[in-house]
């Protein structure tokens, strides 16, 4: 590894994995595989426990703000682990001079989102640092939820079999593009709104009715491509994805073309990948599509036997190629 931490090591791709494994995992004695939530068993209860830091810039973007994001993100990490999210703790690192009004708006968003998701914010911490020592506001949320014994396999995907179907609940890339647009470094405005939303009720409805759900993961930093590659390695199988069936909104598609981004690698904050057993996929799709958060759900691919653990994309024009992990931040095209 380099002498200094680089931005690429925070991209969510291979370099982030390397950083986590080489610096933290061994020293902390953490058990593999690393999933969205830790599963804790104590005194007859099983709890899912997770934590996440939020450093989004700008703090306010179309469709949300850092506060809403901090609640949704942690709720979703618990929900995709099969848990019922219950309690959240929130820590704030605030830069001296931060507008009080903004802080109030952000706190109100958190309260609203917690109410919507049915979780309680029960603990927290605040630190204020000198001007210039942090960028406006960083938030860390940790959360815990109850995990029923029959849901313990959801986070690890250990029941996945070849033939299982992959489903996502809607179009990809909207969060990343909305944030990029709000950064004001594009010389045009975009109509794209972040998909930032708590998915726990949607996921609960699916898990309540469909008994053959094998795996779930939210498609945040690193996007769908990263999650698929992590999954392929975790379960030791291959995955095929049908590019034409992956929903992407036109404004996102257009901006990706212009800036050289691939929507399959872009961050989402209200999207979940569900792996369902053969025969269960239509039922999952029906449930998703009956909810506004899953209205544009699609079946996008399936699990296949492949010792090489590759993710293969059937391209929209009928070709085939590998869909790899991102190797760094997606960079703009120059010619």
């Amino acid at each position: 590894m380099n002498d200094f931490v680089s931005l690429n090591q925070g991209s969510g791709g291979k370099l982030t994995h390397e950083l986590i494994e080489k610096v933290f995992v061994k020293r902390f004695g953490m058990a593999e595989p690393l999933t969205d939530s830790a599963i804790l068993k104590d005194s007859g209860f099983t709890l899912a426990f997770t934590t996440d830091s939020y450093v989004v810039d700008p703090l306010f973007f179309p469709g949300g703000n850092i506060g809403k994001l901090a609640v949704c993100g942690t709720v979703n990490d618990l929900a995709v682990s099969g848990a019922d999210p219950r309690y959240i703790a929130a820590s704030f690192i605030i830069e001296e001079g931060f507008p009080m009004h903004d802080l109030v708006v952000i706190a109100e968003s958190m309260a609203e989102e917690a109410l919507r998701a049915g979780v309680k914010i029960v603990a927290g911490d605040t630190k204020v640092v000198d001007k210039g020592k942090c960028d406006k506001l960083f938030i860390t949320t940790s959360g815990t939820g109850i995990l029923k014994p029959d849901m313990e396999h959801i986070g690890t995907g250990k029941r996945i079999k070849p033939g299982d179907k992959l489903i996502i609940n809607g179009p990809l890339g909207n969060h990343a593009i909305a944030v990029l647009g709000a950064r004001n470094n594009l010389s045009f405005s975009t109509p794209v709104t972040s998909d930032c939303a708590s998915l726990n009720h949607l996921i609960h409805n699916v898990l309540d009715i469909c008994k053959e759900i094998r795996f779930m993961r939210d498609l945040t930093r690193g996007g769908l491509a990263t999650v698929l590659n992590e999954l392929a390695v975790m379960i030791g199988s291959g995955i095929t994805i049908d590019e034409a069936s992956v929903p992407v909104d036109d404004p996102v598609k257009g901006l990706c073309e212009m800036l050289g981004f691939d929507p399959l690698y872009l961050a989402n904050e209200g999207k979940v990948l569900i792996v369902a057993g053969t025969g269960e996929e239509t039922r999952v799709l029906d449930i998703l599509r009956s909810d506004p958060l899953g209205k544009y759900a699609e079946i996008i691919g399936e699990i296949i036997p492949d010792k090489k653990k590759l993710v293969v994309l059937n391209t929209s024009v009928g070709g085939k190629r590998i869909l790899d992990m991102p190797s760094g931040l997606q960079l703009p095209r120059i010619c």
Binding site: S6, L310, V317, G319, R321, S327, L331, P332, C335
Partner: protein
């Protein structure tokens, strides 16, 4: 989506593939010069659609890849100076120099900012008038007019702290160098974006002097397949010429406004290309009237340039002599997280593209 969906129409693509299959009579080797084409070919899995006797090889059209190590070393040396802000296109920051990269220097504290255009860099200069703002100008005829306009604007607005480190290049001399190298080729998939600026006529020397076919090509799957079909037909009939497939953007004479800006600000010079060495009259340097924006005049810098890793075959790949699969370092020692050569860095670099979209037939 308009201008996208119709060119990614599966039925159309299948029809073109079918016509290609019916037209092939022998082995064909075509070079896609532009890195944008290399990326599109692999991203859409075009190679998996083509018959086995059509070989596509990648050329020197990724501006990041052909930029010499000495340029990166100079940029790094400037980034270490007091009160300097380096502004650059994103792809360049991970390219290895002799001993470091801009990315590593950024992590170690240098003020290096990614911009989407020269005008963004000029804006940074306006806001930071107490600092020297250096824009790393790379790219071919496509990006160079943007730099020319930026320089003119800096002149007009008396912006004294804005400077250019130029590695801008032009494409036709490199294509001529490849032909003279003796690469076995039947024709070129010519760069559509470059030709949008230059017009198609700048490539006329290729069929006239060297008897090779040329088709100016767009960047969507149907564009590329149609161009391959046009090239096959030219070869079959032995009628090499320059044809424009990308007619929705390219004309014979090109964009005269962009050409004017380019020639008013820049003049041709000899330029260093990674893999080729110096190619005469293939670079662009600032004309005398704009010389004060040349950072190398304003603040000369000395570098300890070291040769690239001797096992790295980037140079031969850029010259079309080898493919990334021929490289002993490819995927084992050299991969996007640990690039030893520039071709592994840029999204349009051959090695990066081959690695990312490793082909499945």
């Amino acid at each position: 989506m308009k201008y996208i969906d119709e060119y990614r129409n599966k039925d159309l693509v299948m029809k073109l593939t079918d016509l290609i299959n019916k037209s092939v009579r022998r082995d064909y080797t075509f070079m896609e010069v532009c890195g944008g084409h290399t990326a599109a070919i692999h991203r859409f899995g075009i190679t998996s659609l083509l018959p086995g006797n059509i070989k596509l090889i990648s050329g020197p059209g990724c501006p990041v890849c052909v930029t010499g190590t000495d340029f990166i070393d100079k940029a790094i040396a400037y980034s270490k100076m007091e009160d300097v802000i380096i502004t650059t296109f994103g792809d360049l920051i991970r390219v290895p120099g002799s001993a470091s990269s801009l990315e590593k220097e950024k992590a170690a504290g240098a003020d290096i900012r990614i911009v989407l255009s020269g005008l963004d860099a000029l804006e940074i200069a306006r806001i930071n008038s107490e600092k020297k703002v250096i824009f790393l100008g790379i790219g071919f005829e496509t990006t160079a007019p943007g730099t020319a306009v930026t320089i003119k604007l800096a002149e007009k607005d008396y912006i004294k702290n804005f400077f250019l480190l130029s590695a801008h290049k032009i494409m036709p001399p490199a294509m001529e160098a490849i032909i003279k190298e003796g690469v076995n080729l039947d024709g070129f998939i010519c760069p559509g974006h470059v030709a949008t600026i230059t017009g198609s006529a700048v490539f006329n020397f290729i069929p006239e002097k060297f008897n090779l076919s040329c088709v100016i090509t767009g960047f969507e799957p149907a564009d590329i397949l149609q161009s391959i079909l046009m090239l096959i037909r030219q070869v079959n009939r032995n009628t090499p010429k320059v044809e424009i497939q990308y007619s929705r953007a390219v004309t014979v004479n090109g964009n005269s406004i962009a050409q004017r800006h380019l020639s008013e600000v820049f003049e041709p010079c000899n330029a260093q290309w990674r893999g080729f060495g110096v190619i005469p009259s293939s670079g662009l340097m600032l004309r005398k009237d704009f010389e004060r924006f040349n950072v190398e005049n304003n603040t000369p810098v000395r570098i300890n340039f070291q040769e690239d890793n001797e096992l790295c075959i980037c140079g031969e790949i850029l010259r079309g002599l080898k493919t990334p699969y021929d490289c002993p370092l490819f995927a084992d020692i050299c991969f996007p997280e640990n690039p030893l050569g520039a071709c592994m860095v840029s999204n349009e670099g051959s090695c990066n593209t081959y690695y990312k979209y490793r082909l499945t037939k």
